[in-house]
Amino acid sequence: MVTRGFTGRRPARPDAERLPPGQYLTEDFPVLQLGPTPKIDLARWRFTLREGAKPLKSWTWTEFEALPRTRWKGDIHCVTKWSKFDTAWEGVTFDDLLAAAGIEAPTAYLLAEGYDDYTTNVPVADLTGAKAMVATRYAGEPIPPDHGGPARLLVPHLYFWKSAKWVKGLRFTQKDEAGFWELHGYHMYGDPWREQRFTGD
């Protein structure tokens, strides 16, 4: 349906090809979260892999920082319509986490859990093969608290709410369980290129 009088502003051609449908490009870095930014003491920080309630492996901050590090640079897309190009992150890939724990993924699904009690679901297949990391640096610096520091999940090929801030662990689940936003009407998977914003999209 053409909107009377709307001409709009097209992004430059190379940008247009990198922008998923319905998104616009932003230069700054918007912040979205459910509540206040949690204050996290690195001396008490833990990152834990669980299967259901059972802990599989846990790291302190010092131990986590000693794991193999990977850099990733690319585009991120928020369900609230902004996209940001060429963001630079550094952290520990999901593959390296499993290797350091000496395990293979016990199930095909997991929930990322944050220090703010936020959860979001991601299929394990979307984390393996260097597609995702637990990031601890952004643009060469520690991740600012508003952007999820000290550590956040980074799954850049899905809408950014899947990249849980202040992540404290990953919990493997037997089936694909909805997390916080998914229970509030957001899509179970969240592919920006298929515009999977809400349930039923």
């Binding site: 912040v31 979205l32 509540g35």
Partner: protein, 235 residues
């Protein structure tokens, strides 16, 4: 339930402040929305180029057949510029909603209710205040809102009237760009909490820097983080 795009007709378009225009839209939702929810709008150019944005609903859920959006013109805003300069009553746009299940308040949740809004971040809080006045006028509520100048205060006359007439509602206005202007700070937060009592529910909405600063102040003032819900815009 899938959220489907539907056509919504603009029934009114009037200036709210020098920078904000109020658009009233007739919507055909089968169910009521909740105060604090938003909608997505989609505009399409003749060559197929589309732009989408999200806007909070300002009106009360007790009037579900139409919604008000208060749209601030942003510098170089592709969509806000259309709503500021082009859109007129009778025009039809595409819209879907209501969206959002976290930044919402229902009268049944009670209070005290603390609402903190920066600039156009007051919009979803207005929907809550309007709903409260009709559905739960006994719930104590305080709106702490920041604007640049008196002319930039969205719904200023309504808020001042509510402050004067509603026994359980208090308005705290902070102006940033006037002589002696200030921002919301530890003192204004402390005074608001002293006037309201400990809120059961706190909602903070505004730009990223505003919400970061205000929610940090509220936590520092002793409010449990889980009682504070935030919504931010920017980018």
């Amino acid at each position: 339930m899938p959220l489907v795009w539907q056509e919504a007709r603009i029934t009114a378009a009037v200036p709210e402040t020098p920078r904000v225009r109020r658009l009233t839209l007739a919507v055909g939702w089968g169910k009521p929305f909740r105060a604090g929810q938003h909608v997505d709008v989609r505009l399409t150019a003749p060559d197929g180029h589309q732009a989408q944005r999200s806007y909070s609903i300002a009106s009360s859920p007790t009037r579900p057949e139409t919604i008000d959006l208060l749209i601030e013109r942003l510098a170089d805003g592709e969509v806000s510029g259309f709503f500021a300069d082009v859109a007129e009553p009778g025009d039809v746009i595409e819209l879907r909603g209501p969206i959002g299940g976290a930044f919402v308040w229902d009268p049944a949740e009670g209070g005290p209710l603390l609402l903190v809004g920066g600039g156009s971040g007051v919009v979803p809080l207005l929907s809550m205040l309007r709903h409260r006045a009709e559905g739960a006028p006994d719930v104590p509520a305080l709106l702490l809102t920041s604007a640049r100048t008196p002319d930039d205060v969205i719904a200023r006359e309504e808020l001042m009237r509510r402050d004067a007439e509603e026994p359980n509602f208090q308005l705290r206005l902070v102006l940033t760009r006037v002589p002696g202007g200030r921002r919301i700070d530890a003192d204004t937060v402390r005074a608001a909490l002293a006037a309201l009592g400990t809120p059961a529910h706190t909602f903070v909405c505004g730009s990223n820097p505003f919400v970061s600063a205000a929610s940090d102040l509220l936590v520092e003032a002793g409010l449990p983080a889980r009682t504070i819900r935030t919504e931010r815009f920017g980018g």
